[in-house]
């Protein structure tokens, strides 16, 4: 039985409908929810927490329908995007607040406090007020408050979005470690694709108010089941080429590509289709037997460990990711090869073929 299960839930808003969505989060799992801003990700968290009730469908907690449960009874902690620390309380008071509210004994409170402050390294800021803390410190206190009350699950709504890059990277590792060491169930919402992919055991990709795909980061990255997923996962994003499938289903004919692209195995015949290739699956240079193209390189972005090349195909910019540092002059024409094992085909509805 899953720790959290959402079954065919629908929530109606004036301009927008969330759902029907179904997903389940297992005990001890780090579950990520990813999607562009304002697509209902926070609403999913609120439905789990009980701040919102579904218009249709059920939210089950450990197999039990939660419709009768009040927020406090659900035993779920949440870390909000704006942290929502109590400004008039210091660090310690903020962290032990939920425990005090539940009437936990003093001994237990102090034990939890020690545990939490050890794990999050906040011992030295317990006496400070939120106004005196830095962004990273506030972050950790907010996490401490959610952690202190051991709960069935922890919901995190973009908890590290406000921090600068370096602190974000550190916090990611800390969160992952915390989650694993305590075998906690985490549901983590973010619109930063890299972040969600890095930390989650499984990811749900939300698009247009529905869940487009659920799977491990690997699944979602290497085998996106629709264009909606393929275009938001991966940075730089996947390159897409419009075209159609040949009548015998063996070739892809791109609108702007002269040669026909041979497909491994046979797919359905005819019909419009889109070919997707990730930047790292396009290689510089020709490879015998493999499909290649001549493209003009507009600009080269040397990023040290790898290089991004922007190539022009008609009006489209094709992004190529080459390992290491390459010496390609701008404005030159280069031959590039597509890795045939790693192409993605989508039909006219954007579904994987």
């Amino acid at each position: 039985m899953s720790a959290i299960e959402i079954r065919n839930v629908v929530k109606n808003y004036p301009n927008f409908t969330l759902g029907p969505i179904s997903m389940s989060v297992e005990q001890g799992e780090f579950f990520g929810i990813f999607g562009p801003p304002s697509t209902g990700k926070t609403s999913i968290l609120k439905l789990i927490l009980g701040l919102l009730q579904p218009d249709e469908g059920e939210v089950l907690l450990s197999g039990q329908d939660s419709v009768e449960m009040g927020v406090a009874e659900r035993d779920i902690s949440m870390v909000f995007q704006n942290l929502a620390l109590f400004p008039h309380m210091n660090g310690r008071e903020n962290i032990i607040f939920p425990l005090k509210e539940r009437g936990v004994s003093e001994a237990e409170i102090s034990k939890q406090l020690d545990f939490v402050s050890g794990v999050l390294h906040v011992g030295h800021i317990l006496e400070k007020n939120p106004a005196q803390m830095s962004g990273g410190e506030r972050q950790r206190i907010a996490l401490g408050r959610a952690f202190a009350a051991t709960s069935r699950a922890m919901l995190l709504d973009e908890p590290i979005a406000a921090l600068d890059a370096r602190l974000r990277e550190e916090m990611r590792v800390e969160l992952k470690r915390l989650q694993r060491e305590n075998n906690q169930t985490f549901v983590y919402v973010s619109h930063d694709e890299e972040e969600v992919m890095a930390v989650s055991d499984r990811v749900a990709v939300v698009a247009d108010g529905k869940i487009a795909q659920i799977g491990t980061p690997d699944d979602v990255y290497s085998r996106p089941n629709s264009m909606a997923v393929a275009e938001v996962i991966g940075s730089p994003p996947m390159n897409f080429f419009q075209g159609k499938l040949s009548s015998d289903g063996k070739f892809f004919e791109g609108d702007k590509i002269d040669e026909r692209f041979p497909l491994k195995g046979k797919t359905k015949a005819g019909g419009t289709a889109t070919l997707g290739v990730r930047p790292e699956d396009i290689w510089l240079g020709a490879k015998d037997g493999d499909f290649g193209l001549d493209l003009v390189i507009n600009s080269v972005e040397p990023l040290g460990g790898y290089t991004i090349l922007n190539a022009q195909l008609d009006e489209q910019i094709v992004k190529i990711r080459a390992p290491g540092q390459v010496d390609v002059p701008e404005r030159s024409q280069q031959r590039v090869t597509f890795d045939q094992r790693r192409i993605h085909l989508f039909d006219e509805d954007g579904i994987r073929v």
Binding site: G50, L52, Q53, V67, E68, G70, V71, A72
Partner: protein, 308 residues
């Protein structure tokens, strides 16, 4: 807020429900004020309306609610239109308004612009700037009464003889009143306009300067357009208040010499207390209320159409 499963069980009872519903709570909080308003404003308004269609004056000998005995229909309203004294008062009031209000406006705007940037002593000057507005109008009236005396400081400084009168001269009385009004109320314009100016995003102003705009160009193209709402509020507010000008005029000139500075308010005052023509005054009062409301509404509707 109206979820099917609210977390805390609601106790039954009207007042408990009220505690949970923002709208209901609002109603009860506002009720005392509404009742007060009804009593102080709405009731007298109806009383006034009632009186305005009668010939009643306190000399009639009957209590006011029996005024129906001297019903007159619209005679009072008709009489207004042909009363030269009324028109004279009206004209003079409008004159004061169209001179004083624009003057205050431009002065206030100029001062606000000066105060936009920090400069040494800004806080101190700011407080000084606001003082005229905070003095009781009657006292301001007295102040200018003394200043504009034939033997007073104004004449002394201008090197004018003591028989050069301000307050009793046919033309100059008006001027003195206008000057007093400008002195007293420019700070209000200044305050409102400065607040509006401070609401103009400073980075947009900076962007305009970086694009090569001079201070004057930026003022016209960025600051003024973004202040449209505030400007209208300031002008409508002041214009309506100015129309009602009374204290200053009464103390300085009592409406004189003769009726040279008799504004509508002074006229109505005299009519009420000297001539006891209460029904007539009621009629005029309502007419003015109506006209000013239309003007204010027009101004405000223009403001509602504007957006930034």
């Amino acid at each position: 807020m109206s979820d099917k499963s609210a977390n805390t069980p609601t106790k039954d009872g009207y007042w408990a429900k009220v505690a949970q519903d923002g709208n209901k709570m609002g109603f009860w909080f506002v009720l005392p004020t509404v009742l007060l308003l009804l009593f102080i404003v709405v009731f007298p308004l109806f009383m006034q309306l009632y009186l305005s269609v009668t010939w009643w004056t306190p000399l009639e000998g009957i209590p006011w609610y029996m005024a129906w005995e001297v019903f007159s229909w619209g005679e009072n309203y008709w009489y207004q239109l042909t009363d030269p004294r009324m028109w004279g008062a009206l004209w003079r009031t409008v004159l004061i308004m169209i001179v004083a209000v624009p003057a205050q406006f431009f002065l206030g705007m100029a001062l606000a612009y000066l105060f936009l940037e920090q400069f040494p002593g800004r806080k101190m000057f700011y407080s000084i700037m606001l003082t005229p507005m905070m003095i009781v109008p009657a006292v301001v009236g007295l102040m200018f009464y003394l200043l504009f005396q034939g033997t007073g400081p104004v004449n002394a400084h201008l090197g004018l003889p003591s028989n050069f009168s301000w307050l009793t001269d046919v033309h100059r009385a008006m001027i003195s009143v206008i000057i007093a009004d400008i002195w007293q109320w420019t700070p209000l314009m200044f305050l409102i306009l400065l607040a509006g100016m401070l609401g103009v995003p400073s980075d947009q102003l900076l962007a305009a300067r970086l694009l090569g705009g001079s201070n004057w160009q930026n003022f016209l193209k960025i600051i003024i357009p973004r202040m449209k709402t505030v400007i209208i509020i300031a002008l409508v507010l002041r214009a309506v208040e100015c129309f009602k000008i009374f204290d200053l005029v009464y103390i300085m000139t009592k409406g004189g010499p003769g009726v040279q500075t008799e504004t509508i308010s002074i006229f109505l005052y005299k009519l009420t207390f000297a001539e006891l023509e209460w029904a007539y005054v009621a009629a005029i009062g309502l007419t003015i209320l109506f006209v000013l409301s239309v003007v204010a509404a027009k101004g405000l509707s223009y403001m509602a159409k504007k957006d930034t």
